[in-house]
Symmetry: C3
Subunit: 237 residues, 3 copies
């Protein structure tokens, strides 16, 4: 890898550190949003930043015959993507005292399958790659179904304002998550159409928006709702 | 591996896919059985099918000096066996509003130890193999103790019908789980008495019964009980 | 490794087995302490003992260019240290019916980061080692902050006796946990000042006190409190 790519990973690490500190500062004045929402928002950039740091330090990737495999990315995603989905699900269940564990379990199960099939696809070649890639896309479709049907209904039946906030947040997440496999299939792990540098840029810019950007949007909306509705629920959970 | 073995793994993958779709279709008409029971029943064949698919694609095993180690099987078991035990424990606690997390934790802890010691045994040789194997069997004994004493008492004290259903389901699981280490010790990872093809056949037939078969039996019984007793508890959990 | 080191690991394995049996015997007469406290105390030495057994059997370490990396230790810690923190957090929340999952999540998140950065540091060299080591120490500082501020306040606001017991237990854990990175930085993975045998001795003696010793102290105090206060809460959880 050349120096530009190392610099980009350092840049990403710093953005994540700043993001974590920002969410920590928000948590000092929670405005009716439960603490676990802040905790999730803080942990995601910590974990993701460490994964990218390992790449910046020349450790989190493998030089294989079929190109560089950034396995640290998958280590990042297998933890942060379930947490992003958990944050979205908890947003939909904002007013529910008892969280729906079956839906959360289904989301996380499908997500872990999506990330692992992506990892195996990255280490595969030829037809194998496309079989695993297809299975990963099926898992993504299941996730999107859960986000846009049962979860959305839950948010909308709680309050009109929560419904609108949920729609915005879910749409934001959907747009970025659909972008990932698109970049992947166009990139060197897939069809090899775009250059490695483009792919790496995408894997710097996309995750910043889909992680720190997502939490800014989600927490911002919840803080507005939490402030207006007051302490209608237990903040301590 | 020869073509027959590849074909058998493809066959297994298809059976699991059909099983997952079947449990999904049952979940559309839950009949008083909580959704998480269906979720567990759906996730188990999805995960197990993917693990076997990796073997069918020539990826999920290693050719070592002491024979082929199918590590994908352990990746399968380390996820599906805790879920099978969770399903059984939740069956015993069918009428309990507050699930007993200590018992579930003990079951899963012992189970993870059982699977990991089995994996290490498979990568070991000589005396080491038998030490790890013995520790795995001890973990199995702990699991069977929990199944047949505290959990069984819980099911029987709830209702006579649940007690009978639990006994049937626990006996079914016990029979198949005792068969696993028996096949293992007789097979090439252990004493090497039986041929590899016999072992692989056992690792196709046994898991179909102990996974999809188990869930058919468990869900079938719960659906009968759920239908009769009505909505005596919260289905949403 | 020489025979002394193997013997020491066998010795550790036996101590852990005795510890697990001791906590099991205590659990037969719980004295108002919830069963999950015993379960955690039993599971920790089981898991840790198995990890050290793998070293005693010549399996749980790698001979690398920069010295022996005992990866089984990290496999030990990544499971047992979250459980030790969970036990301490549950002690602070002894009288709370609803456990504070946000605090437990924060503790476990920081802890997993601490162990993983330590593992990467052990496999790194030069400057990399110190970057990862520093990040691990930051995670430890976060853990100690949570232990000594929010958790301590929780324990002290519950009862004076629980507050005293919590202080004792937290101080004990803090002392041993601060000793770990000190030994590490002085040892061959870090500065290389002390000899390998000293380090191994430290990794036998320290963990016995910080695992079995911790649980003896914690359970002993809770049993005294539980006996005096009677069944003021739900033992079944």
């Amino acid at each position: 890898m050349d120096n530009l790519i190392y610099s980009l990973h350092w840049f990403y690490f710093i953005v994540m550190a700043v993001g974590a500190l920002y969410f920590y500062s928000l948590s000092r004045n929670p405005r009716g949003v439960p603490r676990y929402e802040y905790l999730i928002a803080i942990f995601i950039p910590c974990w993701s930043g460490l994964a990218y740091l390992s790449i910046a330090l020349g450790q989190g990737f493998l030089d294989t015959d079929s190109g560089i495999v950034y396995f640290a990315r998958y280590l990042d995603w297998v933890v942060t993507t379930p947490l992003l989905l958990l944050a979205l699900a908890l947003t939909a269940m904002f007013y529910k005292k008892k969280k729906d564990k079956a839906i959360i379990g289904a989301l996380i199960g499908a997500d872990v399958i999506m990330i692992l099939t992506g990892l195996i696809a990255d280490f595969s070649s030829g037809l194998q790659t496309y079989i695993w890639y297809t299975l990963g896309v099926i898992a993504l479709v299941v996730i999107l179904y859960i986000i846009w049907y049962p979860l959305r209904k839950m948010a909308q039946s709680s309050s009109a304002e929560l419904g609108r906030h949920y729609n915005r947040t879910a749409l934001y997440l959907t747009a970025f998550w659909v972008a990932y496999p698109t970049v992947w299939i166009l990139g060197p792990s897939g069809l090899g159409l775009t250059q490695s540098i483009t792919e790496v840029l995408s894997f710097i810019i996309l995750p910043i928006f889909s992680k720190v950007g997502f939490s800014i949007l989600d927490l911002g909306g919840l803080r507005k709702i939490g402030l207006e509705t007051g302490n209608g629920y237990d903040v301590s959970g």
